[in-house]
Amino acid sequence: MTTQGAPLVEVKDLKLHFPITAGFPIPRQVGAVKAVDGVSFSIQPGETLGLVGESGCGKTTVGRTLLRLYPPTDGKVIYDGKDLSTLGEREFLPYRRKMQMIFQDPYASLDPRMTAGDIIGEAIDIHGLSSGKERMDRIYSLLDLVGLLPEHASRFPHEFSGGQRQRIGIARALAVEPNFIVCDEPISALDVSIQAQVVNLMEDLQEKLGIAYLFIAHDLSMVKHISRRIAVMYLGRIVEIADSETLYSKPMHPYTLALLSAVPIPDPVVEGQRQRIILEGDPPSPVNPPSGCRFRTRCPYAKEKCKEEDPKLIDVSKGHGVACHFPFGA
């Protein structure tokens, strides 16, 4: 990791296990869905870290646990040198102002009974940032910042298109002047032509305001476009992390390789010549992950050692970490 200066956000060995209970009338815990099982990374001020992986790999849970929308089972989240995992809810509030979230579904993440102005203003009220005319001015300038008009403040979510709603979601996150935003699939519900609008807006805002993003998505081409570094997750763990060009040109984990080869490229000539690594089967259940390396059940190169020993995420070169016993090109 290109560590100039202290990281803004650092995640250390984060774990989140959702309990599975059974029994009536007194339920007992009989197992756990290990959605996130030991994830570590750090984000510099003003940078974008992409987080990719298949559905169910735990990428959304990482984002939510980071903001304490779920209480972590284990591990630390350090913001600007301060360990947040020991804080109580009240002490945590000022940090929630610094760390915000943009949600995936622009149709479900806005309260249909609140106007756009109230949606954006709610966060301002909670944190007591301003009131009266000052508050309205702030809402108008936020709307302007995301490319909407002042008169939109009095409209309700159903009066907006998907792209406009996502802009409201972005304005809401920006209202409390955060330094860090978790973007959970912010564009996957939008049409292609609108995706580009929203991505460009997010890039402009980053440049203007110096916000760091954790960009969670499954669309690898888009993640590569927007991120400086990318972490690839599989079944609750990060299997590879590197800066985005390196990850694309020199992937070392077999899963990253398969994932990259599976992404279709919009060019018939390139597509015609590509060699695909087709992974067999589906990802195993996070309730009972395989022994040793979690990817071994689908890995075309798995050996005996992969069954017995769990590979650690090791830096193979500066800023390029891989969790594999037999990485490519090592």
Binding site: D191, V192, S193, Q195, N200, S221, P268, V269, I278, L279
Partner: protein, 334 residues
Amino acid sequence: MKPLLTIENLQTSFKTYAGDVQAVRDVNLTVHEGEVLAVVGESGSGKSVTMMSVMRLLAKNAKIQGQAFFNGQDLLALSEKEMRKIRGREIAMVFQDPMTGLNPTLTIGAQLREGIMLHMGLSKQEANKRAVELLNKVGVPEPERRLAQYPHEFSGGMRQRVMIALGLACDPRLIIADEPTTALDVTIQAQILELMKQLKKEMNTAIILITHNLGVVAGMADRVAVMYGGRVCEVGTVHQIFHEPRHPYTWALLRAIPRLDEHKRRLESIAGSPPNMLKPPGGCPFHPRCAHAMNVCTSEAPEMTEMGNQHRAACWLMHPDAPKVDFSQEVTKA
């Protein structure tokens, strides 16, 4: 190649309380035997409604006009009874959402057998045998055991395989696949696309692939039709569409998506939003968002212009009197 399905002047509108939604406005399309035609476009462009109109699967408030010739028969003029013999037997559909496309109260076996027994007149035992074969073909492991299971016991990728098996059940000559991989992860998408390619090669079935993913189109299609605002704006071979596109919407679409194999550049977004089909804009539907729009575009809808080799685009820039645009420039920008 012989044309298999020819759609002529198709118009579909829906009666709603807010007025008539003109979802499809004069669509002409041809699919040839054994080819893959991709229909691309954003949500609301009319790509699914076009196919649902042809299959006559729309609700009662839909008004359909035009012709759709399959094997010399106009599908839109057939009686419901005759149409039932075509659906599943001659033309099959594979739907987008593998979570809702299967009946949760019936076993996979029962759902597969239904069409086979009805269309091919096989007994239950014979149909079971055929169902096992089909599941084998689409790569569902342990097909005998799986037949007795319900959809909820299958993963998303496996359900989509079952949906494809359902589509293949009676050896149809045409499969209409409506966003067959949109709900799936990329690794599973790669499996399903590989499977569809292989099956197409083996059985020479024609496929209409409805999608908005241009990457999938580049890998699968022989020909591509680009739709916008209920009309086809450009149609051509996959090479023509990706390397010599002629319609400003196709240019814009290609420039708006990032590519995995290129370095970072700014995405060119298309300003504005897709048209409201209750009141579609006059003239060319794309003119409010088009960088090349002229006066004529706002009043007159452009005709399809043939550029040779079956490459056609509906744009006033193709008119001999139109200002000259350097097409190669527009393409390399993408």
